[in-house]
Subunit: 262 residues, 4 copies
């Protein structure tokens, strides 16, 4: 397990914030900017196939509001359904971002559920790592395949907590625990978080970070939810490090019985 | 439901912090002081039958480290098993604290579980309210009896989330929701919180505040857990006010499909 | 805990079936008869204020399809909101049923939730027990008040699993366990069961029986659901007596590693 | 979804029982025989690498107590960690069982968790289907890879509910639901069931059957637990077909308010 107390180190760079955010689904670029700032995130992920970061030089670019000088831009392959498309998309991103190596690989297996296609994910991860990328990888919560991705050389393992955009929270904390226990690279929950307590739960399990988009962008007040998520990730991390009391069914007085005065 | 955005108002006084803490179970008074400070709490509860706040003028007093000039001291009746003892204990506290009216009533029904004795709680609440006290009241999560306590004139309803000291979290969020929905005085979860996410969950349900002791004092690092709880209460409150996305089982892309570029 | 292996004994009479059923909400009396038969229940409860068992001599009577010669009729006080009404209703029932002593007391506290009014329930139980009734009592899952009802002399404790008609299942198995552990009269889950697994869970916790109505009468196919519930109650009881394997997070081979052949 | 009302049809043969059992972990062959009989199972699975069904002609054979004339013997590859070993093991089984085609493939990925190795499972499934086997396949609860296994031509999809031998029940009913919804071959929960209610829950989700071993063999009274599981599988199936009431948080009276008499 990766217990980096001092911050989240991915591919050699250390970040103070353990909250990573997406850039989609906001009302406009101004709201994107404000929410990203409120979240305290230092890494912001961008769907290369959907968001303009320079592909169209005549349209407004996301980079105007989340500048690469301030944020680490994490290109992702949302919308790719096979290894080939995903690899091609990230090679395109590398060009657009002047040789940027840190990427998020996601190869989807189903248009309705957006569940990952693990065989194509493993294939793409292998190609990208050999091609010199630092690969953060969206995956199922299967601990055996998570280990394969780590062995391939991925920079971070990013299991889903529940389906993308579902807001259903951490459906299987047991599998997540197995992945956290076995991994020596950061484990970052990607997808499924719905509200602040979900983020806290993930961090309390020992995750190194959380990536989210819909939970913030889809909230009634996205700026406020961004702030809630920032606090929740810190709360969960602190609670993990503080060492919680054990759950026990037998009750005990909250004060020692000894030393009664009145 | 009590949706005071600007702070937690109890018996006419408004507090910025929605986290209330106990003073028992710490290693020593210095740790009590540090953890209380880290928690950001403004109200600290004291078991009058166990903790010295002046009953014994020759022993160290809790008030030396949590001075009434800085904190609102909330005397409680931990260890009382009938209405008579509870009423007597709070009358004693009133004298010790120079006419202080804000108190926490708890009448226990079982030495092993510390579950409340609701008939005696109702009886004591009635006497105390008539006697001029502002009564915050520990109770079961029974919405009908919670309403009776409010009708009697209690200043805050404090249902248990799970057994005192158990750290089992929010066992029945449904009952808690019924109480929150019907109450026009603050609802403060008292007992059962084990870690930061439990606190966030309670606040996301719409509670007005949380009181805890064991979860902080019993953690491996109480100061750090106090900080975690401060953050978690704020995170949960912000998430409640921000309006979370609905849970949905069907997945949706986290970015709009329209506007594809690559 | 009441571990009667040979059947469910209430007020001195032993029943083979541990499933008790209500008689409301069916399409017609014929469906009531069929579902009751399919459930294998021997005790059927009747809302005296709503169902004709002779109050109106000119209308069809429930007793025509569930004859007292074959079933134990259990009059209940559904619809009563105070002790006085409940006591009066059961005295009326006793007359209608020729001195029948076994009754189910339920005093409701809220028209929307149908949550019990525990103070009025305690009051009515006391009067009825003194008046010679064998009182089975619907109550909250508060272990302290459940013990008070047992001490008053009730014949069976009937905590809700969740709100009447909600189908939400066993919301707080912990409180239920405390009640089961402490009781020397039968504990029968009343209200909240939605489907077969809920019934199995209740029995696995060590309940002595389950009473339900909506889960059967409201199913798409009530006769089939009655059969499902019969099987589920038996399954849960057998599993309780068989002694389940412990839950453990570390996996173990389902066959011993020793003795490998191939 | 496969809604075969009349029984469970696998590879063209129909079984009345939807409970499949393992043959490991029993005290002795006599207990194996009794528990298998009590379970009502018609399919019994055998770990070819561990259990003698003729490999050693001088040792007692399992087939003496569970004769192939009465039961369908389902050879499995428990203990295999790659496709090659699994394929070889089942080819050996086919010889021992005179050309028997129905097999259960399981390729494990981790000795501690016994979680499946999905890439090797997919590879082995492809080879076995081409070689003429009817392949029932143990797999993770990943709906995308489950679909791949179906497309390869597997005869039944057997996702784990939780780790083998863990008794933790259905950890992720959502993934299971996705698999059930998309599959046109039977979906049989394999691994993780701990007690009767777990089996009922799986069947209520719409599974076509359940395979278990430890939950029965490891119970204090395996024969009684076998009976409990038989009843629970039937209860869950009946409840699924009967159509449960919806869960709803607002309560409703269990009898119509109209038609009050008293």
């Amino acid at each position: 397990m990766n217990k980096q107390e001092q911050g989240l180190t991915i591919a050699g760079k250390t970040y103070r914030s353990r909250l990573l955010v997406g850039s989609g689904k906001y009302r406009d670029l101004e709201q994107t900017r404000e929410a990203t700032e409120a979240s305290g995130a230092e890494i912001i992920t961008v769907a290369i196939r959907r968001v303009n970061i320079g592909q169209d030089p005549n349209a407004p670019s996301l980079l105007d509001v989340v500048p690469p000088t301030k944020y680490t831009i994490l290109p992702n392959t949302a919308g790719c359904y096979n290894a080939e498309d995903a690899v091609y998309t990230l090679q395109l991103a590398r060009e657009l971002l002047n040789g940027h190596k840190l990427v998020k690989l996601e190869v989807l297996g189903n248009e309705k559920t957006l569940f990952p296609n693990m065989p194509e994910t493993l294939k793409a991860a292998e190609i990208l790592v050999k091609d010199g990328f630092d690969v953060m990888v969206y995956c199922s919560d299967d601990p055996v395949q998570a280990k394969m991705l780590e062995d391939i050389g991925c920079a971070a393992i990013m299991p889903l907590a529940s389906l993308i955009g579902s807001g259903m929270g951490i459906l299987n904390p047991w599998n997540l625990s197995l992945i956290i226990e076995q991994s020596s690279v950061p484990v970052i929950v990607d997808a499924g978080v719905g509200t602040a307590s979900d983020a806290a739960i993930a961090m309390e399990l020992g995750c190194d970070g959380i990536l989210m988009n819909t939970a913030i962008a889809g909230a009634k007040d996205p700026i406020r939810m961004a702030r809630a998520m920032k606090l929740a990730v810190e709360a969960g991390r602190e609670a993990f490090l503080a060492g919680r009391i054990p759950r026990k069914f037998a009750a005990s007085p909250s004060s020692p019985m000894a030393g009664r005065i009145a």
